[in-house]
């Protein structure tokens, strides 16, 4: 009997939590499989579920979706570029600070930490003006570089924490074995840091893919914008095809969810470790 009561109590928590979590996503899903009329009837499940919306999106059959594939590609390319380049910048910096104990390393780390804590939304307007000065507005590189700037600090912090766990004697043994700094980096440091590198790379990639504010500030050409911005453009019109918007939104939301679940193991340990320490 006690077991049943405990189970009931847990369900009493679990069911509302499940509904709360999934309702917006479920709504997204419903819209994407409903026809225009059914979507606005507020049904909990469409009488005639259809994949027609997906077809319209994939074939770019609506003027709002004219560049769907291109924009999807933009999102992808930018996200991957940010992931890779952030990894490069952060790994070298973390190595220099943690293993080579470079002079000024602590200062740089503190600067990075400061950048991490200041909310990105407050950096957006200055960044926009600066990119204007650099002549990079409407150039995809402006978004890539901005995202690297935002993602690197946390990446460096996480990598440094992970680096500090490696015994320093490994570096000493490698030095005595004859390793140069680059050989130490390439043959000892990077292989041992592999799990953290995955977490950081995925983190930066997701950050760039999910980004809206900077994307819409820095890019305006319909061909060059990311899918996020394109979705935002839907909002400005009056008679937008909301069900198509939801469909596109669903498609846009799937990759990050999938990637997160694939790399879940790395993400959870990699990203919460630093926090719990505090």
């Amino acid at each position: 009997m006690k077991k049943l009561v405990t189970e009931a109590k847990l369900l009493l928590i679990g069911i509302p939590v499940a509904i709360w979590t999934l309702l917006p996503i479920y709504n997204l899903f419903i819209f994407s499989i409903s026809t225009k009329s059914e979507a606005f009837s507020g049904k909990l499940w469409p009488d005639h579920p259809t994949l027609r919306n997906f077809e319209i999106v994939f074939r770019e059959e609506h003027h709002f979706l004219g560049f769907f594939w291109r924009q999807l590609g933009n999102s992808l390319v930018i996200a991957i570029a940010v992931g890779v380049l952030t990894l490069l910048v952060a790994t070298t910096a973390a190595f220099a600070i943690s293993r080579l104990k470079v002079r000024g390393g602590r200062v740089v780390l503190n600067c990075a930490l400061l950048t991490y804590f200041i909310p990105a939304a407050f950096l957006a307007v200055p960044m926009y003006k600066a990119m204007g000065t650099y002549g990079l507005l409407n150039n995809q590189w402006s978004l890539i570089l901005a995202m690297i700037t935002i993602a690197s600090p946390y990446a460096i912090w996480v990598l440094k924490q992970a680096s500090d766990k490696l015994p320093f004697e490994l570096d000493e043994a490698a030095r005595i074995d004859g390793a140069s700094p680059l050989q130490l980096f390439r043959l000892v440091y990077v292989p041992l840091m592999a799990p953290s590198l995955v977490a950081v790379g995925v983190y930066a990639l997701l950050l760039a893919w999910n980004e809206y504010l900077y994307a819409f500030l820095l890019l305006s050409n319909e061909r060059d914008v990311t899918l996020a911005v394109a979705l935002g453009l839907f909002l400005s019109a009056d008679d937008s095809p909301w069900e198509l918007l939801m469909t596109t939104g669903l498609l846009y939301a799937l990759p990050p969810a999938a990637i997160y679940y694939v790399f879940k193991r790395y993400m959870q340990s990699g990203l919460t470790a630093g926090a719990v320490k505090a």
Binding site: L10, I13, G14, V17, T21, L22, P24, I25, N27, L28, F40, S41, G42, L44, L88, V89, T92, A93, A96, L100, V102, R103, G105, N110, C111, L113, L114, T115, F117, I118, P119, A120, F122, L123, A124, V125, M127, K129, A130, A146, I148, S152, S180, P181, N210, Y212, L213, L217, L231, G232, L235, W242, M246, G249, A253, Y260, T272, A275, V276, A278
Partner: protein, 307 residues
């Protein structure tokens, strides 16, 4: 690490009786050279350079430029005169106080729920991450549609249950703000719950077992074991969450766009509003005004994390 102890050694230096002086001429006292390590140090600088460049070009310069744009006192006067500004300050503060506490308390409580090892709870915890893992636009827009007074799911359900029309959620300042807060909580709760779970799992099981033997109730176990261990983490998380909430642009912008009639703006979205009105100096002034809220919190976090 070998560190000698201070104080005069009691015993004198003893010279080895078989000290051989067969070595050819070698330079006498040689100060420890820095040159030998320089190749490692210079590589350190080279490898640090990419980030330093990124930082200088995309943080230092923009911030400097932004501050320079915010230098006119006239901007601040204009802000003080603008009722939208005052309103958004109030909204921001409300957001901070209500949304964060609401969120953190739930994160703490749910963390207790999610450490349970039942299979279905584990599955639920996997699904629970979704709001945080998926991008904001589709989900917040979805919520926006759910709240549509005519055809949104929420009002449809209310109508079916009560045969009355539900409220116009996003057309009333306070309702809209509340909804924005709920959106924010919806999006960020999973992350903080994960942090709390990690904190709970760090508490040794034996403490609970001992307490159980001592006859402590669930509440007492929370009060005397869980909470003392989690207190610091909770505080740090709250402060960090405050910083991030201050910077939450998406929740307000995508849900209400700052409306109705610019009444739900918060400091994060206000800057963009001025930017779109082509009043860049006001935008920057807004950001500067937000700093007294942000910087003390940042200072606190820096002290905690950087040793």
């Amino acid at each position: 690490m070998d560190t000698g102890r201070r104080g005069r050694p009691v015993f004198r230096v003893f010279k080895a009786p078989v000290s051989t002086a067969v070595l050819p001429h070698i330079d006498a006292v040689h100060p420890g050279p820095r040159r030998r390590l320089s190749s490692w140090q210079s590589w350190g600088l080279v490898l640090l350079a990419p980030y330093v460049v990124v930082f200088a070009v995309f943080v230092v310069y923009p911030v400097g430029y932004g501050l320079w744009l915010a230098r006119h006192p006239a901007s601040y006067v204009a802000l003080a005169d603008d009722p939208v500004f005052a309103g958004s300050v109030a909204n921001t503060l409300l957001f901070l106080i209500v949304a964060i506490n609401f969120k953190m308390i739930f994160a703490l409580l749910l963390s207790g729920f999610f450490v349970n090892t039942r299979a279905w709870i584990k599955w639920l915890s996997v699904l629970f991450i979704l709001p945080w893992a998926v991008p904001s636009i589709p989900t917040i827009l979805s919520i926006r549609f759910m709240l549509n007074p005519e055809w949104g799911v929420i009002n449809q359900v209310i109508f079916r249950l009560t045969a009355e029309d539900g409220p116009n959620w996003l057309n009333d300042r306070w309702l809209a703000l509340a909804m924005a807060m709920l959106v924010h909580v919806w999006k960020s709760l999973p992350f903080w719950t994960m942090i709390m779970i990690a904190g709970r799992l760090a508490i040794p099981r034996e403490l609970y077992e001992a307490a159980g033997v001592d006859g402590a109730s669930r509440f007492q176990q929370f009060r005397f074991i869980t909470w003392p261990s989690m207190r610091t983490l909770y505080l740090t998380s709250t402060i960090l969450s405050m910083i991030w909430t201050l910077g939450d642009f998406n929740s307000v912008y995508l849900l209400t766009g700052g409306g109705p009639a610019d009444l739900t703006h918060v400091l994060a979205t206000l800057g963009i509003r001025y930017l779109r009105l082509d009043q860049v100096d006001l935008a920057m002034a807004t950001i500067v005004c937000a700093m007294p809220l942000v910087l003390p919190l940042v200072y606190f976090m820096m002290k905690r994390l950087s040793r």
